[in-house]
Amino acid sequence: MMAQSTMRWRYLKQKIFFGVVRLSALIISLALFGILAYIFFHGFRAITWDFLTLSPTDSMTAGGIMPAIVGTLYLTVGAIAVALPLGIVSAIYLTEYAKQGRWVRIIRIGVNCLAGVPSVVFGLFGLGFFVVFLKFGSSILAGSLTLGILILPTIIGASEEALKAVPQTFREASLALGVSKWQTISRIVLPSALPGILTGAILGVGRAAGETAPIMFTAAAFFTAALPKSIFDEVMALPYHIYVLATAGTNIEMTRPLQYGTALVLIALVLGIDLIAIVIRSSMRRKKRW
């Protein structure tokens, strides 16, 4: 028999531990909520129809941010278009084809290192390689490629996890029917892994849309009223626009509401793209449950 007081002490410890866990969850939620609320309250007054549909005027102290919205949309979609196919193919190679051993370990370390490289380094690489060496100039193309490489590790990592989560029995079942390895991967493994891969893409979208440093030298224009006509044009972008208004604008204090408004639009844009991906993912999950 356990002494009564020992039991009570155990329950107390349990309560304390659960309390700490709850508190951590609460702090994290509060931090997120706090940031969102702060930006919302400072920015929502700036949001008007004109703000969303017009170009900046009066040395960017008035008018809208439409070119930046369009620019960020292009850059984000471009980055995903670059990184998703490349990332999925790399992950397939690493999990399905490559013989597990030293070589694959080295590649994985490389990918993880890439994830840890500061984003400004990607910006400089993009400037040197895409803008100057390949002569793309400061353009949507160069910016998308740079952002694509930046989010590649995220997408490879998520895709690898998703592929590994597909039960081995599916592969065996398919191969045992005399179906080739490639057909097995494309018909069984990849469709089952797609929801997980999409999660990686969602994370990638958030990162690509929000980064400033990588596009600073490769794609973003300080100001351009015109919308881009081709992928070789420069664009304005939301994060860079915020940066410009807050550090190099003609009237930094006066444009604070515009800065918060732009930040609010950026967050809404990322959430919007995420929402679309989440809806697609959950409809896929319904079909592909095992």
Partner: protein, 253 residues
């Protein structure tokens, strides 16, 4: 007698890395018969089964010595395509493993990829395979429903139907009823009895009554060696080797 042998192993050794899982296994499998492989866990019976359709190729660091002759040809010869072998030697696994697709698409998955595109032909094939697996009456009205909604026993029969749809010569079964309840098990055993008219069946089982019920021949394995291989009746009533007797009477294993 020798003419009816469809697949045979000759002095087969098999290694996982440096671990030898099979030693000098020589066996003949007769056409349209059920051969059971029995023995305690880790004795190599499943390994041998997976060698017969080259499923062990999927595991890194394995090595086969000796020959496995299917219709007189060594299936481990360098010019043999394992995909081709697996089309002709189907397999059913321990746990039912249908794809997360509809019942119809599960059955027609492999035939479609092997080039049958005609819808009517696929429908006929699906019905035929599901009938052979004695599942048709239960699923004919729900063919478009996900295979995951079926019961375990139904799923296993679906897996059998899926294998039969490729019209294989040999059907390998790796403990096909060990995850099923007694009623589903009885159904699968009845099915095996039907199927041997059309197919050669090689079954690994932990259930000795099952081996006695369904098979004509039984091979007993112990620590990677084929200890005794004979008529099932002989093995279960009058085994020649003491180890076999000890195992089937439940003295070890």
């Amino acid at each position: 007698m020798e003419n009816n042998v469809i697949i045979k192993t000759r002095n087969v050794d098999f290694y996982y890395g440096s671990f030898r899982a099979l030693t000098d296994v020589t066996m003949d499998f007769e056409q349209n018969r059920v051969t059971a492989l029995i023995g305690p866990s880790g004795c190599g019976k499943s390994t041998l089964l997976r060698l017969l359709n080259r499923m062990n190729d999927l595991i890194d660091g394995t090595r086969v010595e000796g020959e496995i002759l299917f219709e007189g040809r060594n299936i481990y010869a360098p010019d043999v395509d394992p995909v081709e072998i697996r089309r002709r030697i189907g397999m059913v696994f321990q746990k039912p493993n249908p794809f997360p697709k509809s019942i119809f698409n599960n059955v027609t998955y492999a035939p479609k990829l092997s080039g049958i595109t005609n819808k009517a032909e696929l429908e006929t094939l699906a019905e035929q395979s599901l009938r052979q697996a004695v599942l048709w009456d239960e699923v004919k009205d729900i063919l478009s429903r996900s295979a995951m909604t079926l019961s375990g026993g139904q799923q296993q029969r679906l897996c059998i139907a899926r294998a039969l749809a490729m019209k294989p010569d040999i059907l390998l079964m790796d403990e096909p009823t060990s995850a099923l309840d007694p009623i589903s098990t009885a159904k699968i055993e009845e099915l095996i009895d039907e199927l041997k008219r059309l197919y050669t069946i090689i079954i690994v089982t932990h259930n000795m009554q099952q081996a006695a019920r369904v098979s004509e021949y039984t091979g007993f394995f112990y620590i990677g060696k084929l200890i005794e291989f004979n008529n099932t009746e002989k093995i279960f009533t009058n085994p020649a080797v003491k180890q076999t007797e000890d195992y089937i009477t439940g003295r070890f294993g």
